[in-house]
Amino acid sequence: MNPYTALLPLPVAVPLLFAAIAIMVGVSRRPRAIQIQKILSGSALVINLVIGLLILSYTLTGERIVFQMGLWPAPYGITVFADALTGIMLTVVGLLTLLLLPYAIASLDKSRARLGYYPMALLLLMGANGAFITGDLFNLYVFYEVLLMSSFVLLALGGTPSQINGAIRYVVLNLMGSIMLLLAAGITYGTVGTLNMAQISERMGMAPYALQALIAGLLFVAFAGKAAAFPLFFWLPSSYHTPHPVVTALFSGVLTKVGMYSLFRTFPLFFPDLLVAWQPFIMTIAALTMFVGVLGAFAQPTIRRLLSFHIISQIGYMLMGLGVALTPGPFGVGFGLAMAILFLVHNQLVKTALLVGGGQIELEMGTGKLSELGGLVTSRPLLAVVFFLAAFSLAGFPPTSGFVGKLGLLQVTFSTGQYAVAAVSVVVSLLTTMSMIRLWQYIFWGKPNPQLKPRPRLAYTSTRALMLTPAIVLVALSLAIGIFAEPALTVTGTAASQAIDRAGYIEAVNPEPAPTPAPAVVQEVTP
């Protein structure tokens, strides 16, 4: 057996194993327990990143890795699957969680650590990894639930009234999305008689159009809701600013992006025809998402509220990429999807860098209110530079990754003739730039507020350095993607061409042709 096949379940197994040990260790009240949790967490994250890199390096050669859980053949057992798109996501999320560990160690208060931040962050990682590698629709739903539960605990960790308020909104609205996903899985099973993604892909074309549209619609609502697209984004700004900043940074890099990944995975695989037919609809949603998001950002009074509206706005660009996913271009058939994947990665890096930097200011100064901050450029010059670079990468200035991503997306959108959406995306880029300049100006320019004193606990040079490291690494990566755009595009191009190659996916999973015909319900519904 291929050694990489044995590696494939580990992105789920390793975080779960270490989280279980960390929970048992955490029962002890001694301060040593937290130290051990940190070490466990660090080892799990390093192992996870190494596995992610190994899977990525193997899949980039154009190979796919398939493993059948418990060695049960495909439609009966659960398939786990990795191609380059999976590899990219595993690596990026693994890197983000690893980078956020020193930040958490430096900034997290003892009570939150004792309540279980470290095991819960590992369980969140496990949920995300599971959603990336699964090849089974119901299993995907299960991993979304794992994500939801662990993120709910992380949001409520600390238990301040605003956190509980945000967490309840978050969990109620996300449960509705989960119900949509469950409904879609149920209707899929009733329609095509399977939940294995390869088999769904094989049979979906035979289903009546009405049912195809129903399943696609439910899946779109579920995933777009999880990704915080218009009009289902309102859970995000009402909850993301409430927890500890490290939790917000973790969420922005992982949660909404899993929803986006699921859209990239399922739509080209299940509904290649609908993806073309529904292009105007997806493009409209994309335009509204980016526009409403960026307008909302202008009205926000605090750093993290402002940045959470930008998360929504940027999701619009990725949806734009989904809309043009199957449009060919200079880097292959799925050039649109390749650009969307590049933009997704860029956004994970840059958004997390911004939230990490903004969170650091909020923690040190004790407030995130833009009206109270100011003049930090003299006392924190390095942070000011890093934040500036991240902000301009988000806005899409060369030579950053944002420029490459936006330019590519704009090119594809133009070549498909979606001029209106392309125009909206340009205007939104301009507005994003304005909003980012405004943010930077409020925090770093002007006169320092004499009443704001940095909190002593976070004022040590070593603590500051630990908290600044993730932002520096992330911004450096963003610049690297911008400067070495061609290799980066080759990578995402491979991922995209694998993701839209349905025949290759089906062949790799190789499900047994099950004898069960589609149930009678199908015929009743057909007009």
Binding site: M1, A13, L16, A20, I23, F67
Partner: protein, 155 residues
């Protein structure tokens, strides 16, 4: 003040429920049952104890074991899955067959996995149940008078 019939029901039913849970757990591999359902059944037994004896003695008896139980359960479940890698794959079932007094008994990693699930379910569910009692105790102390407290205990 706790009703006499609840206390009687507790003494009579709790052992029965636990035995039912064990049966559900053991038949779960091929028939309806398994770790999740067995875990919920055990939690139901503990809930009966909460109703009959009040939350405080139950919390004193089980409270400190609940979180370790969740960790242990997760660890057991994932270990069962990882053991399968020894025979070729994650989650591959490994079975041991032996006979005692002529009856053939099969023990395997799927049961170990189920055991883990059961421990997690017991730990989580009982934690929730105790938290809910805590909340209602607090509320009744704050807001309600004695008569309404009685009604709540009855319900």
């Amino acid at each position: 003040m706790i009703e006499i019939y609840l206390r009687l029901a507790d003494r009579a039913l709790t052992p029965v429920i636990v035995v039912v849970a064990i049966i559900l757990f053991l038949r779960g591999h091929d028939y309806p049952g398994g770790g999740f359902i067995a875990g919920l059944t055990v939690a139901a037994a503990i809930e009966l104890q909460i109703l009959a004896q009040g939350a405080t003695p139950v919390r004193e008896r089980f409270g400190r074991y609940l979180l370790p139980l969740v960790g242990l359960g997760l660890f057991t479940a994932i270990s069962a899955a990882l053991l399968g890698m020894y025979q070729g794959g994650f989650f591959k079932g490994i079975w041991l067959k032996f006979s005692i007094l002529g009856a053939e008994i099969k023990v395997g990693t799927p049961q170990l996995f189920d055991l883990g699930v059961m421990l997690v379910v017991i730990g989580m569910t009982v934690t929730y149940l105790l938290r809910l009692t805590e909340a209602s105790e607090q509320r009744s102390n704050d807001v309600f008078d004695g008569e309404q407290q009685m009604e709540e205990v009855d319900a």
